[in-house]
Amino acid sequence: MKKLLLFLCGLCILLPLGMLVLYAFAGRWPWPALFPESFSAARLYDTLDGSTLSVLLRSIGSSFLSALLSTLVAAPAARAIACYHFPGKRIIRALLLAPVLLPSTAYFVGLQTLFTRLGIIDTTLAVILSHAIVILPYGVWTLTDVMNSVGLGLEEQARSLGASPFSALATVTLPLLLPALVSVTALGFVISFGQYFLTLMIGGGRVRTFAMLAVPYIQGGDRQLSALYSLIFVGISAGIYSLFGGIMARHYKDAAAIGKGAM
C-alpha cells in the first residue's frame, strides 16, 4: 500500500518531466501520434552556446551569494525571535513576514526607488541584495522553529563548564544547526534562481540571470524552447539541492563514524 502511494506520487512528478523531455527533443510531432516522428538535439546545442553558459554560471553564483547572505541575516534574527523575549517581538516577526504577504509588485517598486536613490540600481550588487530580501522571510520562519527546538540549554551548559561564548557557539550550537542552515540556503538558492520580475526591475535587464533568458521564451510559447529552458531550470535547482543534501549526509555519516570510533 505504502509502495503504491509512493509509486503514484513519483508518477505525478515524473510524468510532466517526461513530457518536458519529449517536447525538448521532439522534431515534428503531429496529432494524434503518441510519440514524435523524429528526435533532434539540434536546438539544445543552439541553446547551450557560450553566452548562455556564462549567464548560467554567473546566475548560479549570484543566487548562491543571495542565499548565503539571507541565511547569515536570518539565523541571528530567528535565534532572537525563538530564544529571547523583548518588546515588540510580535510586530518584528510580522514585519519579517511582510515581503511574502504584501503584493510583491508593491514592494518591488519600493526597492526600485530605494536602489535608484542609493545609486546602485542596475548592478549585480542590487540584484543580490534584493533577492536576499525576498528569501529572508522563508529563512527566518524555517529557522525560528529549528532554533526553538535546539534552544539555548546545551550552549548554556557548555558555558557553565567553562567554554568561551565563541567556542560554545562554534562547537555546540552550530553543528546542531548546520543541517537546517544548509537546507535553508539551498531553498534560498532555488527561490533566487527563479526570480524574474524582481531581477528585471532591479537589474534593469543589464544584470542577466538565467531566468531573464528563459522567461521570454516560455511566455512566447515556443514549445520546444520552453521545454529546453524549463529542463535546464529544473536540472540546476534539483542538482544544487541534492548536492547540498549529499554533502550534509556525508558530513553526518563521517561524524557518526568518528563518534562510534571514539566509543
Binding site: R28, I121, L200
Partner: protein, 415 residues
C-alpha cells in the same frame, strides 16, 4: 500688503523651485552639449561606447539576428557594442516611468523596440528623446519621410520620435496538401468552418495576433474607412455600434471553432502548435515569412503556404525610439541608423534569418541596392513582397485597439 506678507513664504518656495527647475535644465544642456545634426560629431561621440537595445525577447530568430548580424555590423561600421536586453515593453515603460518619478536622469535604457499604443503612451508621458529621425543619414537617404508609415503609428503622429525598424503583415497559413483551396474572404472562411467544424480558432485578444485578426475581420465586414473615420473622442458605445456587424459575424463563426468558441488559445504560439500538430487547419501569423522559416527548420511540412484575403490584410510597422534619460544618445542614434541601412534591412528580410519586410522606400534605392533585395530567396510557401504590399491595409488608431478588445471580450467568447 499684509496678504502679500502672508504669502511670502509660498512665493519664496515657488521661486526656489523655479530656479531649481531652470538650473536643472541649464545643467542638462551643458551635459548634452553635442549638436546631433552634425553626424560626424555623433559618430565620434559614439565610438567605443556600449548601447543597450531593449525589446521583446520571445522570438529566437529576431534575437539571433540582433546578436549575430546587427551587433557585428555596428561594431564594424560604427565602433559601438550593442547589448540586447530582452524585456517586455510594459516593463520597459514601467521602468522609465519609475526613473522619471525617482528623478533618475541617467537611465540604463538607450534604444527601445516599440510601436502602437505603447508609443502613444510613452510619447504622451515624455518618456522618449526626440525628435531624432532627421539626424540619421540612412533615414534621410532611404525612408519616405512623407509616407503614411513614417508619419503615423496606429494613428499617433510620430513627429520624429521613432525610426522605422521592420514591417509586418498578417497572413493566414494552410497546408496545401490538406486544404488545397483556402478561403479568400470572411464569408468563405465562415462557409469553410461550417463544413469543417472545430478546425479553426484564433488567439484570444488582447494577444497581438488575435487582436489583429479581429480587426481584420472588422475591415472585411464593415470596411476600414468606416471604422477609421470614428472620431478620437468616440465612446465605447459608439464604437460598439459601428463594429456590430463584425461582432455578429464572429458570434456566427463561434459554434464552428475549436472548443465551440467557448474558449480561445492564450498565445499565438499555441495556435501555431495546434496547427503543426494537425489539430487546426489554419494558423495565423503577423510575420509574413513565418511559413518559410518554419518549413526551413522542419517544423512545418513543405506543402504549407501563406494566404491572405482578397480585400487585404492588416499590416503595421514597428519602430525604435530612444529613452528620454538615455546616457548614450549618440550610440542610440548610430544603432537606429544601422538598422535603416540596406544590408541590415536586407538580411532581416531573409525568412531563415527573421523574415521581416523592409521599411525602406524601394524608389530611393540604387540599382545595386535593389539587387540586394531582389537576391533574397523568400523561400517556399510565402507570398512575394509585391503581393503583400498591394494587399496591405493600415492599422486602426491606437485608442480604438483596447476598446475593440474589450467589446470582443464582452460579445464574442461563449456567445
Amino acid at each position: 500688503m499684509k496678504k502679500i506678507l502672508k504669502q511670502m513664504p509660498c512665493l519664496c518656495l515657488v521661486a526656489v523651485l523655479a530656479l531649481g527647475i531652470f538650473g536643472g535644465c541649464a545643467a542638462q544642456e551643458t551635459a548634452a552639449d553635442l549638436d546631433y545634426s552634425d553626424w560626424d560629431a555623433v559618430l565620434a561621440a559614439a565610438e567605443g561606447t556600449t548601447v543597450t537595445f531593449y525589446g521583446w525577447g520571445g522570438n529566437e530568430l529576431v534575437n539571433n539576428w540582433i546578436d549575430d548580424t546587427l551587433t557585428p555590423y555596428c561594431a564594424e561600421n560604427y565602433g559601438i557594442t550593442v547589448e540586447r536586453v530582452p524585456m517586455d515593453i510594459d516593463m520597459i515603460l514601467n521602468r522609465l516611468a519609475g526613473d522619471k518619478s525617482a528623478g533618475n536622469e541617467e537611465g540604463s535604457i538607450d534604444l527601445i523596440w516599440i510601436n502602437g499604443e505603447n508609443f502613444a503612451t510613452a510619447k504622451e508621458n515624455g518618456l522618449l528623446f526626440g525628435p531624432f529621425c532627421e539626424y540619421l543619414p540612412n533615414y534621410q537617404a532611404y525612408v519616405d519621410a512623407e509616407g503614411e508609415e513614417a508619419t503615423m503609428d496606429f494613428g499617433t503622429p510620430i513627429e520624429g520620435y521613432e525610426a522605422p525598424y521592420a514591417k509586418a503583415q498578417l497572413v493566414l497559413i494552410h497546408d496545401s496538401a490538406i486544404v488545397p483551396e483556402p478561403p479568400a474572404s470572411a464569408e468563405e472562411l465562415l462557409a469553410f468552418c461550417q463544413e469543417n467544424p472545430g478546425k479553426f480558432t484564433y488567439e484570444a485578444p488582447p494577444g497581438f495576433t488575435g487582436s489583429a485578426f479581429v480587426r481584420n475581420i472588422i475591415y472585411e465586414i464593415c470596411g476600414y474607412e468606416t471604422v477609421a473615420a470614428l472620431p478620437a473622442d468616440s465612446t465605447k458605445e459608439e464604437v460598439r455600434e459601428v463594429i456590430a456587424p463584425a461582432m455578429e459575424y464572429l458570434r456566427e463563426l463561434n459554434p464552428y471553432l475549436w472548443e465551440g468558441g467557448a474558449t480561445f488559445p492564450a498565445t499565438e504560439a499555441q495556435v501555431d502548435s495546434m496547427f503543426m500538430d494537425g489539430q487546426l487547419l489554419f494558423s495565423i501569423s503577423y510575420d509574413p515569412y513565418h511559413v518559410s522559416s518554419m518549413i526551413s527548420n522542419g517544423q512545418y511540412t513543405d506543402t504549407c503556404k501563406a494566404f491572405i484575403f482578397d480585400k487585404g490584410t492588416i499590416g503595421n510597422t514597428n519602430y525604435v525610439a530612444i529613452a528620454y534619460n538615455s546616457v548614450n544618445i549618440p550610440g542610440a542614434l548610430c544603432l537606429a541608423d544601422a538598422i535603416l541601412s540596406v544590408p541590415m534591412q536586407a538580411t532581416k528580410m531573409e525568412p531563415t534569418v527573421w523574415g521581416a519586410l523592409p521599411v525602406l522606400d524601394m524608389n530611393k534605392l540604387s540599382e545595386e541596392e535593389l539587387a540586394e533585395f531582389a537576391a533574397i530567396d523568400v523561400g517556399v510557401g510565402s507570398l512575394s513582397q509585391e503581393e503583400l504590399l498591394s494587399h496591405r491595409l493600415p492599422e486602426l488608431p491606437a485608442y480604438l485597439v483596447p476598446v475593440i478588445e474589450e467589446i470582443w471580450l464582452e460579445e464574442v467568447p461563449g456567445k
